[in-house]
Amino acid sequence: MAYPLVESPPQLRRTRNGLRRRTTRSRTTHPLAFLLPAFIILGVFFFLPTVFNFIYAFTNWSSFKDDIQFVGAKNFVSLLSDGSLVAAIRTTLIYAALVGIMQNLFGLGLATLLEADTRVNRFARVIFFIPVLMSALAVGYIFQALLKPTGAVNQILGLFAGHAVTIPWLGSTTWTLVVVAFVNSWKWAGLAMIIYLAGLKTIPEDVLEAARMDGAGPWKTFFRVKFPLLAPAVTFNFATALLGSLNGFDTVQATTAGGPAQTTEVLNIYIFQIFGYGLYAQATTMSLVLFLMVLILAFPIVGYLRKREHVL
C-alpha cells in the first residue's frame, strides 16, 4: 500500500471483497431490534388470530361443546348448502362496490363544488366533516329514524309531492342495501372530500391555464385534466372506501340490523349474529371467508388503481 494521504472513512475502507460502501453501519445505526415492539404486537394481536382463523374454521368449536375437534370442511359445506355463504358474500360485495362508488362521487363532487377558498366554502367544508366525526352507529340511528315510513324524509318529499309519501326506505328487500350504502357514503364523504381537495391543490396552475388557453370549458378541463391528475387521491379514497366497507358493520347494524329478511346482512353482521348464538366455528369460517375475499380483491384493485397513476 502506498501512502494514504487522507484517512479513508470506515465505509470505504478496503476489505477482502474490495471497496464496499456502508459496511455493517446499518446494524449499529438502524438496529433491527427497534422493530421488535411493533412487530411483537402486530404478530401476537393481528397475525396470530389470522393464522388461528385458518385452523379453527375447520373445527367444531362452539359454546355448546367443551372440547374442540377437527371436522374438516364441514362448516364450509353446511354454510354453502344453506345458501348463507353465497348470500353473505354477494351482499357484502354489492355493498362495498356501492359505497366505493358513492363515497367517491360525493367526495369528489363536494371537493369540486367547494374548491375555491371562499368563506362560504370553508364553512361548508367544516359542516360536511361533522358526519365523519360522528360514530357510524350514531349516524345509522339518525337515518333509521329519518327513513321510517312516517319519518322526516317522507315528510319532506310529501311537501314537494303535495300528498302523503310513505316510501318504506328501509323495508325493501331489493333496494334497502343501496340506501344503507348511501348512508355510509354520506357519513364518510367529508373525509374523501378533504383528500380530493388536497389533491386538487397539487394540480399546477399552469396546466390549468394551458387548458383554458386551448379553449377547454369547465367540464372538459375536469375530465381531461383534473381527474387524471387526481389519480393518487382516487387510489387512496377508492381503495379505503371499498376495502374498508367490506369490513363494515356499524352503519348497517344501526340502520337495518341486517334486515329486511337478511338482505343487508353483510359478512360482519352475520359473524356478529352467529357469534352471539355461540357457533364460534361457523363465525370463524365466515371470518376466514371475509379475509380471503379482501385478499383476493385487494391486489388487482390496488394494482389497477396504481397503474392509473402513471398517466403521465
Binding site: 449499529t28 445505526t29 438502524h30 438496529p31 427497534f34 422493530l35 415492539p37 411493533a38 412487530f39 404486537i41 402486530l42 401476537v44 394481536f45 393481528f46 388470530p49 389470522t50 388461528f52 363544488l113 375555491a116 362560504v120 366554502n121 361548508a124 367544508r125 360536511f128 366533516f129 361533522i130 366525526l133 360522528m134 360514530s135 357510524a136 352507529l137 350514531a138 349516524v139 340511528y141 339518525i142 329514524a145 329519518l146 321510517k148 312516517t150 322526516a152 315528510q155 319532506i156 354520506w186 378533504i194 388536497a198 387512496f236 381503495a239 376495502l243 367490506l246 358493520f249 344501526a254 359473524i271 357469534f275 364460534y280 370463524t284 371470518s287 371475509l290 379475509f291 379482501v294 390496488v302
Partner: protein
C-alpha cells in the same frame, strides 16, 4: 354568475339538506317526550324535555363510565401505536435490504386485511385479557399499527439522512438520533396518524363489542349500542338521540376548537 351567486347558494342548500336536516332531527327528538319522539318528524317538540332526557341518559346510560372507558382504551393505544410504529417505520425506511422490504409489506398488510375478531377473542381468553381494557389496548394497537407504519415510512424517506449522520458524528446512539432528530420532524404525519387513529378508536363499536363485551369496562359507543338495542328502550327514540348527541359531542368539541389544525393535519401528512 355561477361563482358569485349560484355556487354559494347551492353549497348552503346542500349543507342544510344533507347535514342540517339529520342533525336537526337528532337534536329536537332528543328534546321530545317519549310519545312524541316515536314519530320522527321535523316538528319542534310541544314541550321541551331536554333536561329530563339528558339526565336520564347520563344516569341510566352511564355517560361518565362510557367517557372514561373510551379515554382509557384510546389514549394508551394511540401512544403505543405512534411510538412503536414510528420507530419501526424509521428502521424500515432507512434499511434497504430485502428483509426490510418483506417486513414492510407484512407490516402494512393490516391496512387492507381485516382483523380476525373471533379468534382474537379466543386468543385474549387464553392470555387472560378477555373483557379487559388492557386487552382492548393491545388489540387496537395491533389493528392500527399498519396504517401508522404506512404513513410514517413514506414520510421518513423524505428526511435527509445527512441530519442523522450529523447527530451520529456528535456521538449520538440510535435512540438519541431517533428522538432528537427524526421524531420532531415527523410532526405533520404524526398529527395525521393520531387524528385518524383517534377517530377510528373513539367511534368503534364492532371490535370493542367483541373484546370488552361482558366485562366491566364500557365505552360511549358501546353504551349507545346497548341503549338502542335493548328491548326495554326499543321505542325510546328521545333517549337514544340524547345519547347520540352526548356521544358525538367530545369529538365535535375537539374539532371545533382545533379545526384548522385537524384538517391541515390530515392533508399534510397524507400528501406524500
Amino acid at each position: 354568475m355561477w361563482s358569485r351567486y349560484l355556487q354559494p347558494v347551492v353549497a348552503i342548500v346542500l349543507c342544510l339538506a344533507a347535514v342540517g336536516v339529520p342533525l336537526w332531527l337528532a337534536l329536537i327528538t332528543s328534546a321530545k317526550s317519549q310519545g312524541e319522539a316515536n314519530i320522527p318528524n321535523l316538528a319542534l317538540p310541544t314541550r321541551w324535555h331536554l333536561l329530563d332526557n339528558y339526565s336520564t341518559a347520563f344516569t341510566q346510560g352511564q355517560v361518565w363510565a362510557g367517557l372514561l372507558g373510551s379515554l382509557l382504551v384510546m389514549v394508551p393505544s394511540v401512544i403505543g401505536v405512534i411510538l412503536f410504529g414510528s420507530i419501526a417505520s424509521w428502521i424500515l425506511a432507512r434499511r434497504g435490504s430485502r428483509l426490510a422490504a418483506v417486513l414492510y409489506a407484512a407490516a402494512i398488510s393490516g391496512v387492507i386485511l381485516p382483523p380476525a375478531v373471533v379468534t382474537l377473542v379466543l386468543l385474549l381468553r387464553q392470555l387472560g385479557l378477555a373483557s379487559t381494557p388492557t386487552g382492548m389496548i393491545f388489540v387496537y394497537t395491533g389493528m392500527y399499527m399498519s396504517i401508522v407504519i404506512f404513513f410514517i415510512t413514506g414520510f421518513v424517506r423524505t428526511i435527509p439522512i445527512e441530519l442523522e449522520e450529523a447527530a451520529r458524528l456528535d456521538g449520538a446512539g440510535p435512540m438519541r438520533v431517533f428522538f432528537s432528530v427524526i421524531f420532531p420532524l415527523l410532526r405533520p404525519v404524526i398529527a395525521t396518524a393520531t387524528i385518524l387513529v383517534c377517530l377510528y378508536i373513539w367511534n368503534d363499536v364492532f371490535y370493542s363489542f367483541f373484546v370488552l363485551g361482558g366485562g366491566k369496562t364500557t365505552t360511549l359507543q358501546l353504551n349507545l349500542f346497548q341503549i338502542a338495542s335493548s328491548n326495554l328502550y326499543q321505542n325510546n327514540w328521545n333517549l337514544i338521540f340524547a345519547y347520540v348527541v352526548i356521544s358525538s359531542l367530545p369529538l365535535l368539541v375537539v374539532f371545533i376548537v382545533a379545526q384548522r389544525r385537524i384538517i391541515s393535519g390530515i392533508t399534510g401528512g397524507a400528501v406524500k
